[in-house]
Each structure stands twice: as C-alpha cells, then as structure tokens.
C-alpha cells in the first residue's frame, strides 16, 4: 500500500540487495582484540576513563563525553586495556583508540530492566546518552540531542527506506525485531511528546511492511507508510516531505516542521538503552558485493577490524574496491585493520564489474544533475564554482543545502565528480563560517 514520495528530483538506481536480504542476521564472534575509537560520532571526541592495564567488562563505559554534542563509548569485549593509542580509521586518518585484549569471558554488567513509562523526558535522554546511542544510519549524530528538540514535535519518523543499494541490515532488523523497533519508536515518541509515530518503508520490501503492520496493529498512534522506490527516499528532508508533506525550510531542522527522524537500528538501540540499560557495543552491518564469498548481515562488536568481518563472511577474491557504507554515500576503506564503528552500516567488497570510475569528462550541460537533484540545486554550477574557488557564489546559490546524496554524480554521463566537488566546497564554506 502507499506510494508516497518526495516531489522533485530523485532517480532510480540499481538495488542489488538480493544476495543478503533473505539471510538472517548472524552474530559474529567477538574479536581477539577490540580497537574502540574515542570518536565514532558527530561531535567532540571522548575522554578515556580507563587506564592501560585496567580490566573492563562488556558494555562498560570506557570513554566519557564531555560536551553536549558527543556520546560516550563502551567496551565491546571484556578483558584488559592494553593500549590507548592512535590507530587508523576507515578513511585512513588516525584517531585515539582504546585497545582491549579479549579474555573471551564476555563478563558483563548486570542488566537492569526499566519501566520507561514512568520516566521523564530528561531521564530518557540521559539513558540514551549514557548508552552512547548515535544515529546508526551513517551520520552518527548523538541521539540524545535529537530527542531534546528546540521546538515542539508531533511526529517521530522511523527511516526504514534503506534506499542505498546493497544494504539490507535495516531490512533484516525490521523483519526480525519488529517489536523492539516499535518499542524504540514509542520511547522516542514519549521522549519528545509526539502524537504519532510512522515507519517509512520502500514498497520493494512488502514482507517488511506486512510484518510491521501486524506488529503495530494494536497501536493506533503508530503506523507504517509505504514509500515509492526512489533514491534518495531515505534522506531526512525527503522522507519528511514524502510522508508528512512538510518541507523543512532551507537551513532548518526537522523540528522546524514538528518532527524528528530516526534510523531503524537507532530505534532498536534506544530500546536496548532505555529498557535494558545496555550501552551500544554492537551493531548489524551488511557485508555484500560480488567479491566477497558469503555476503550476509552480521551482528558485529564495535571495534572489530574490517578484515576480520570480511574473513567471517568467507573472505574476498579480487576486490576492485572496498566501501564503508553504501555505494552512493559511503567512502573507500583505506585500511583493512580499521575497526567497525557505530555509524558503519555496511562493508561492500566490490568487483570490477560493479564499480564505475570518475572520469571528469567535459560537462555537456545535459542538466541531468539539475533534473535529478532532490534539493532543486544546480550541481553542475555548484561543482564548477567549488573547483574554481568561487565559494561566495556557491554559497549564494545554496551549496550548504546539498544533502550529499551523490545522485548528481551518479547520473552524470560525463562521470564528473560533482558531489565530491560540492562536498569540498561545503567544507571551505563551513570553515569560513566558523573562522568568522
């Protein structure tokens, strides 16, 4: 049912989800050594609260967030802290990490089940913050900040669109843990005082819609909305427009139109955090691509090296590219020893046939980027101005409104790196603003 969508731009891209969408999530054994970065989220890094040589339990907080826009990190194994040092992350940059030698015992803090219906807004937010829950769809924005919006909110949306090709982790979670998802949605609604909760799912996942509709049959204020299959249906502003018809103003937040949006896995993590008091130390990621032997969704501890995850999925042969995240918005993995972090939704091991290179042939002004831009921008000009250093002009023409969905780069017949140029331009504009 339902074929809601956002009105302008967007496009159809291949799905490539068949290899993993029907396989149940498989839990992967904890790594021998967990490498847990102190910055896995948008915002300030954490301060380590453990010492080298100290023992930690599973789920114990090992990094404390000292600023509001930040989130603590937790131990994903029990054992001894062997080192606190800089280690390479997925994108090749180095960051402070706590390295824990796994003792194999998984000794955990005792679970404390809570009845959240009696908790106040700030208590729920504090529980979420303590558990280190951040946006697990890819952005990694601290969730406790989102549940204390600056304006009144009447609707909580759960983003189950999962419009990126290959990725099926949200798909599997919605199928396997619908009640936990709906519980999380209800907690979020209580936290922000929303009247309704809606889960948006693309209609190419009919079984998910069926399961979720059954699960929320008795809840009058929680429902499922079918979304047209179109990229980027799962982008925050486009999702709000598609389901509620509300348009987030340029430069504004979802709260400006009375709603917040959370990812499926984030909602599940909220349930864990609030109901069970468990810190976020594991997540489900999709391992897919033609160059990995046994593509599947795996439940993996934060801090597990990427190479271990790929090996767990049968290893790889002749990969042309390894991507962290989806093929549209993800980034190239620069170092296979880099650990799994909270916002990582997938590891794609792609063969040569699956990828396409950036060629930067001359722009022939076909304007497909303009026709497809879901934000109504002119990516060809924005990219051009960025490349030429005309940042003022780019800013006047709303470069900061770009949601970096990369659809412009996808549709470009000249295979220009439009989105990449725009991202670079945005960084300069943003830096210019903070400098002033």
């Amino acid at each position: 049912m339902g074929n809601k969508t956002f009105p302008r731009g967007g496009g159809h891209i291949p799905h490539r989800k068949d290899a993993t969408k029907n396989k149940p999530v498989m839990a992967m054994p904890a790594p021998q050594q967990a490498v847990i970065p102190l910055s896995q989220h948008a915002g300030a890094p954490c301060r380590p609260v453990v010492k080298v040589g100290g023992r930690v339990k599973l789920g114990q907080k090992i990094g404390e967030a000292e600023q509001y826009v930040s989130a603590p990190v937790h131990a994903s194994v029990s054992g001894e802290v062997v080192e606190i040092t800089e280690r390479p992350l997925l994108d090749g940059t180095k960051s402070m990490c706590v390295i824990i030698e796994n003792d194999g015992l998984d000794e955990a803090e005792p679970l404390v089940a809570q009845d959240y219906s009696r908790l106040s807004v700030s208590q729920i937010a504090e529980l979420i913050r303590e558990a280190g829950v951040v946006g697990l769809g890819g952005a990694g924005f601290p969730t406790h900040v989102k549940v204390e919006p600056p304006k009144p909110v009447d609707t909580v949306l759960i983003n189950g669109a999962e419009c990126e090709p290959y990725l099926t982790c949200d798909h599997r979670l919605m199928l396997e843990q619908p009640h936990k998802l709906i519980e999380g949605l209800k907690i979020l609604m209580q936290a922000v005082g929303a009247r309704q909760g809606i889960i948006g799912v693309e209609v190419n996942k009919p079984e998910v819609i069926r399961v979720l509709e059954q699960a929320c049959a008795e809840q009058s204020y929680v429902r499922v909305a079918g979304l047209k299959v179109k990229y980027p249906q799962g982008a925050e502003k486009q999702l709000i427009k598609a389901i509620l018809g509300r348009e987030v103003p340029s430069g504004g937040l979802p709260a400006d139109v009375g709603c917040i949006v959370q990812n499926v896995q984030t909602a599940v993590a909220v349930t864990d955090a609030v109901v069970h008091g468990v810190g976020l130390y594991q997540r489900v990621i999709t391992v897919a691509g033609a160059a990995v032997y046994d593509p599947r969704n795996v439940l993996v501890r934060i801090g597990t090296p990427i190479r271990d995850v790929i090996d767990f999925c049968g290893g790889m042969g002749n990969p042309a590219a390894i991507i962290a995240g989806g093929p549209m918005t993800g980034q190239l993995v620069q170092d296979l020893t880099a650990p799994v972090v909270k916002p990582l939704s997938g590891i794609l091991v792609l063969s040569k046939d699956e990828i396409s290179y950036e060629l930067n042939q001359p722009c022939i002004r076909c304007a497909r980027c303009i026709d497809h831009c879901p934000m109504g921008l002119q990516p060809n000009f924005l990219a051009d101005w960025s490349n030429k250093g005309l940042y003022d002009q780019a800013e006047r023409n709303h470069i900061m409104d770009c949601i970096e969905c990369s659809l412009c780069s996808y549709v470009c017949p000249a295979k220009r790196g439009l989105c990449r140029s725009i991202q670079a331009g945005k960084q300069v504009v943003r830096a210019g603003k903070t400098a002033v």
């Binding site: 340029s250 549209m328 042939q361 304007a367 109504g376 996808y410 017949p413």
Partner: protein
C-alpha cells in the same frame, strides 16, 4: 576521452555516457537522412557522408584521437555535428560545400572555444551560417524531390499548408523536409530522455502563434522550412541550450519568435539559423535568470524579478531585432529603384536566371524565354507623393507569386500602409484578369490613392508581361487584319506551296492550300492539319506536323506572307510620324517647365511602338498626368497630338522631345556600343574578383537586347547586386556605365566581358 580514471564515491554510476548520448542522437537523425535519400536520391547520401567524414576527421586530427576504427570518433560529438551539417544543406550543393561546412563547424564552431561543452554556439549552425553568407547562391538553390527541378522552398512557393509537407515530398534541405521523419526522431529522443519537450514545443508553439497573429499560415510556417528539424535537433543541443526548465521554455519561445521575424523581414528565405545562434548567445543570461527554487525555500522576490526580466529580455530582443530591421525597410530609402536590393535569387529560387530587355523593360526570368518558368520585374506607378516602385515575381502564366514594395515616398502611417503584407498578400495567385480594386483587392483606408496606384501599376505590368513573353493576346492580334482573301506562296520540299488566307471580321476564317508539289503520302497530313491549326490559333505560329516539317513550315510561312498583306494600315500608317524611320530606339530632348524632358522612342516597322520618359525635371503631379495621357495618344495616333491643358509646358516638352527623337533619327540612340554589329549572340570574357566571367550579349537591330552572365566566380552577395544594376543600365543606355561601388571588381569584369564580346565580333 583521455580523462584520468579515479575511484571516488559514488562508486556506481549510470551506464549512460557521452558517446552513448551522441550515438542516440545519431540514431534519431537516421529517419531524416532516409527521407532525404528517398526524396533527393544519391546526393543526399554523398553530401551527408562527406560532411560526416570531414567532421570526424578534422576533430580527430585536432584532438589527436587514435586513428583507429573506434577511436577516431572520440566522444562521438563530431559524428553528430557532421551528420547535422549534411542534413541542413540543399541537395544541390557542390561537393566542397559539405567539406567546408563541416570543417568550419568543428573548428570555429567548437574547437576554438575549448572543445565539447565549451562552445557557445551550435557548431553545425555556425557551419551553415558561414556557408550561407559566403556562398549564398548554392546554399539557397533548392530542388523538387525525385525530378530535381529547381524550385523555391515551400515557404516561398506555397501559400498554405499542404500534406506533402508532412511526408516531406517538397523542396528543402536534405533532412529538413519530412515532418514524419523528424517526429520519429523526436519521439526517440524524448523516449531516451535526451531532449526536454519545452524547447521544441516552445519553439514550434511560439512560431505557430506568431505566424497566426501576423496572418501567415501557421501550419506552413511550422512545417514549411527548417523550423521543425531545428526545433528538435538544433535548439535542443545540450551544450548550447539552457539548463533550467524555465530557461529552456523561454529559449524555445525566443527561437520561435525570432525565426518568424527573420523570415518575414530579412532577405534570407529561412530564419532558423540566425534565430538559434542569437538565442545561443543568450543562454548564460537565461541560465542566470531562471534558477529554480530550491527545496525548502519559497520563490524569493529576486527570483520572481529575475524570471520576469528573462521573459522581458526575450521579448525585447525580438522587438529590438524587429525595430532594427524596420529601419532598413525601404521606407527610409530615397524613392528610386536604383540601389535597392532585389531578392532575385531568393524569389526565383536560383541564381541561374536570365536577364533580358523586352519592349524596353528589363525582365529576369528562369526557363526559356518562349516559356518562362518564373519572371521577376520591377514596376512603378505614380503614388500620392511620387512613384511607387514594386517588385513582382510571376509564374509562367502570369500569376503573381510574390510582390513587395521596393520604395515609395508616401506618408508614413498612411500611404506607407501599402507595404503591409495583409494588403500585398491579396495579390498572390492573381493574374491580369483579376485585378479590380475593391473587388479582388481591398484598398486601404487612409492609403486609397497609394493602394490604388499599386493595383493599377501591377495590372499594367501584367499586361506588359503578357505582351513581352507571349505577344499580343489572340483577339487583339487579329483585329488588325483587313477582311478579304489573300494569296501567297513559300517554297516547300518539292517546290512552291501556294495558299489562300480568308479574313473575316479581322480574324483568319480559313486557310486553303491551293497548290503544292510535295511528296504525296508524306505531306498529306501537313496539308490537311496545318490550315486547321492556323485558323484555330488565328496565327501561323503553331506546332508543326512531325514527319512533314518542311511542308508544314512552308505553309506557315506562306500564311504569314498572306497576313502581311492583310495588315491593317493604321491611321497615319505610311504617312505617320515615324514612317520613314528605320527600326530602333531613338532619344530626343525637349524643354519642359523646369528643364529638359528626355524620351526614348521605339520605332518598329515604321511605327512608334513605345515611348519612355527617361528624364524630366517637372513637378511630378502635373507632368506625370500629362505623360500618362499623351504617350498612349501619340502611339495611337502616330502623330504629335495636342498638348494637355494644365501641364502645357510638360506636354510641349514631351512633344518636342518626341519630334527631336524621330527627326534626328538618322542616328539611332542605339548607335552606341553595338551600332554596327549584325544581329546575333556574342560571347565575351572578363576578369572578376574570383576569376573569369563569361557573358552572352544578344544584339538585334544594332542594339544590345540582352546580356546574360553565363558563368562567374565572384561572391554571390556582391556580384549579384552589381549585375542586377549594371545589366539593365547598359541595355537602357546602350553604352558602358560606371562600375558599381562595393563590387568594383565584379562590375569591371562584367564591363570588360561585354566589351570583348562586342569587339570580338564573333556571333555564335
């Protein structure tokens, strides 16, 4: 395509590529190419092949593409440009035109700007624009489909929409004629999402609306020329069209408006090329002014303002062009036929026309003089303030195909209304029997005198045309014979053939062959049929009987001799003014009111057959009236008639001039250049700007009757002007005239050629 491969997100991308897009456009052009092949045959094949091969090769050499089977095409854009250049050429062009056109399109149209994506103007149209300006004549020479007879494009030749336009069974550029083929290509491009409907729909829609408002046939306007092809394949060129939807719509509308404007007001038969090139130049502005509203924002006041400005720019541009063109419309030019550009090539559809002076009037015609296909002429008539000069194009039967006012000196807003198409278009398709003011042609309120003058002048010219090309109409001709029976003979195959011609009521009533010694059996048919034919036609000038040509001819000649006896002795006849004057044109001078009146008197067979006032200085209002009355009177009476009251001086001047001309006739005014030459056609050569030129000079009765430029290598635009001015002048004056400024070389070449023709004295 030597771009560096790099791997960055997104790591998946569309399969579409620039070569794929170019190949799709190429595929979309194939129906048009096929249509061209069907209608115009092999030239459509080799012209497009030549243009394509040149484009691909030139680009490959400049861009240093690998010269392999696949690599030579590079990004494929040269393939598309090459095919486009070929398809927009007439199927008659010489072999080097597609080569020059494609080479120009690729180099100055694209590569000098920095290659694909950087060019401001549509490369193929740049190629065509240069060709049009540099080699006008071959670029506007169109032919009919299948039989390749030279003819004008439907825009000029047709008056309203015809279904032949849909199939493309009309003259035009190779790929531009078939609406069906173009629409098939368009459908494919829309299906492949390679063109935005806004450009072709805006283009054709605006052209349709503007044509309708201006009283043109809107369906013909859209389907009759290169408009539809350009709307689908040229204006939609991605590189040179706007990127925003609103900008594209405005771009299309601007192209449509400009195309109709240019067609209506310039000397080029088609406005598409310059319309699109002009709009190409506006693309950056349109891009800037039509930025779409982004997600999450309202249309700002600035954006609304910008869009308004964009619409205004397009409209102002169109009207600006109109204003500039209006300035050059003949209203501002001094009222003289000299120095006004005659659109001969455009309206006659070829530069291979002949020029001849018949009855002292210059005609430009195509086809044989006995059976002209089209005839162009300049006529004049007294308007309100002065003479109105108009330009007429007639078909072979004397129907008006085209009329335009060249110059007039009547009041702007009143008399000048005669230049309106709504008035002039009434003439189209009419012939001499259908020109009654306010019945066939509605005059113009506020310009009654001027409009009536045009109607009168045109009617006169149609009559003169009939006389010039077909002799007097049948009834009038016979009216000159005196009733009775006449005997005459002429030599046939076996001996003299004797005939008796009976005239009743001034017409040939019967022809009888009285005697002959022709071969029995062979000549029977001629003896039987020829008299019937001659009696029917009321003239010995009839088709001969094949198989018995000599006998037929003998009968015809004998009848002519008989008729010569039956010739009416006109009043004044042998006693008339010019009775003893040999045939020729004589010039005389007399004193009018303000100065000399100069006339040319044409004498034939001892009679004054024509009088022309060459020069006078009197007040037109008086003098003109006097002349228009006196001249016919003199010719009729064959003597000097009484002066006209109210314009006594002018009348007397005229009469004195005529007298002087006839009495001083010992020296024919044609005693000029060809005075002592026997009749014949003389060929001469001269050197023009671009090379040798060859002319044929026809001499008859010691006068130059016609000059035809057989061959020349000069720039058509300049040379044409020189020839159309000089030739009538030489014929009128029977002497060398001054070279024409702006085309000195062509003029000098012509004069030289005429001189060598006359001094070489070799009749062909």
């Amino acid at each position: 395509m030597n771009a560096k491969q790099e791997l960055w997100a997104p790591v998946i991308r569309t399969k579409d590529s620039i070569p794929q897009i170019m190949f799709d456009v190429f595929l979309a052009l194939i129906p048009c190419w096929l249509a061209g092949l069907i209608f115009f045959g092999l030239p459509a094949l080799w012209i497009v092949l030549l243009s394509t091969a040149t484009a691909v090769l030139v680009e490959a050499l400049f861009m240093r593409y690998p010269l392999s089977l696949k690599g030579i095409f590079g990004d494929g854009s040269s393939l598309v440009t090459g095919v486009l250049v070929g398809l927009i050429l007439p199927p008659t062009v010489p072999w080097w035109i597609p080569i020059v056109g494609s080479a120009l399109a690729i180099t100055i149209g694209k590569l000098v700007f920095g290659g694909l994506g950087n060019n401001i103007f549509n490369p193929a149209l740049i190629g065509r624009a240069v060709l049009l300006l540099a080699f006008t004549a071959p670029m506007v020479k169109y032919v009919s489909p299948f039989d390749a007879v030279t003819e004008a494009t439907p825009l000029l030749a047709m008056r309203s929409f015809d279904w032949a336009l849909v199939w493309g069974n009309v003259s035009g550029s190779i790929g531009e004629t078939s609406v069906i083929a173009i629409l098939i290509g368009a459908a494919y491009l829309v299906f492949r999402k390679l063109i935005d409907w806004r450009i072709p729909v805006g283009y054709a829609g605006t052209a349709f609306a503007v044509a309708y408002i201006w009283g043109l046939d809107p369906w013909l306007a859209v389907t009759g020329g290169g408009l539809l092809f350009a709307a689908v394949f040229m204006a939609t060129d991605m590189v040179t069209s706007p990127v925003n939807p609103m900008g594209r719509l405005l771009f299309g509308c601007g192209c449509g408006l400009l195309t109709i404007l240019l067609r209506k007001y310039t000397s080029f038969p088609e406005g598409v090329t310059f319309a699109i090139l002009t709009m190409n130049a506006l693309v950056p502005l349109l891009d800037m002014l039509t930025v779409p509203v982004i997600f999450g924002a309202r249309r700002s006041r600035e954006q609304r303002f910008a869009t308004t400005i964009a619409v205004a720019v397009v409209i102002c541009l169109a009207w600006g062009v109109l204003a500039v063109i209006n300035r050059t419309v003949p209203e501002e030019v001094p009222a003289t036929a000299d120095g006004v550009y005659l659109p001969l090539v455009e309206t006659l559809g070829t530069d291979a026309y002949a020029t001849a002076a018949i009855n002292d009037k210059v005609y430009y015609f195509t086809g044989a003089q006995e059976a002209p296909e089209k005839v162009a002429l300049v006529g004049s008539e007294q308007g309100y303030h002065g003479p109105v000069y108009f330009y007429l194009v007639l078909d072979g039967s004397g129907r008006i195909e085209h009329i335009q006012i060249l110059t007039h000196s009547d009041d702007p807003g009143l008399g000048s209304l005669i230049t309106r198409r709504s008035f002039l278009d009434q003439f189209i398709g009419l012939d001499g029997t259908e020109l009654v003011a306010d019945v066939d042609i509605q005059g113009i309120t506020g310009a009654t005198i001027s409009s009536r003058a045009v109607i009168r002048g045109v009617a006169n010219e149609l009559e003169r045309f009939q006389e010039a090309f077909y002799g007097s109409a049948g009834d009038d001709a016979a009216a000159g014979y005196v009733d009775g029976s006449y005997l005459a003979e002429a030599s046939g195959f076996g001996g003299p053939v004797k005939v008796e011609v009976t005239i009743v009521n001034g017409r040939i009533a019967a022809v009888k062959v009285l005697e002959h010694q022709e071969t029995l059996g062979i000549s029977d048919e001629a003896v039987k049929v020829m008299p019937q034919r001659i009696a029917e036609a009321n003239s010995p000038d009839v088709d001969l009987v094949s198989g018995a040509t000599v006998t037929s001819k003998a009968i015809a000649v004998a009848v002519q001799k008989a008729l010569d006896q039956a010739e009416v002795k006109e009043p004044g006849g042998s006693q008339g003014l010019a009775a003893n004057v040999p045939d020729g044109v004589y010039r005389g001078k007399g004193a009018g009111f303000n100065g000399d009146v100069v006339v040319d008197v044409t004498v034939a067979g001892g009679r004054i057959t024509a009088l022309e006032v060459v020069e006078h200085a009197d007040t037109p209002l008086y003098a003109q009236g006097a002349f228009t009355q006196l001249i016919p009177a003199i010719i009729e009476a064959q003597e000097l008639v009484d002066a006209r009251a109210g314009a006594t001086f002018s009348s007397r001047g005229l009469l004195a001039a005529v007298e002087a001309a006839v009495s001083g006739a010992a020296v024919p005014s044609g005693g000029g250049l060809a005075g002592d030459l026997p009749d014949g056609v003389y060929r001469g050569r001269g050197t023009g700007f671009g090379g040798e030129m060859v002319v044929d000079v026809t001499v008859s009765g010691g006068r130059i009757m016609a000059i035809e430029v057989v061959e020349h290598a000069d720039t058509a635009l300049y040379a044409q002007g020189a020839f159309t001015q000089l030739i009538p002048e030489i014929i009128a004056r029977q002497e060398f005239v001054d070279a024409r400024a702006g085309a000195t070389f062509s003029s000098k070449g012509l004069l030289e050629a005429v001189e060598t023709a006359l001094t070489g004295k070799e009749a062909q």
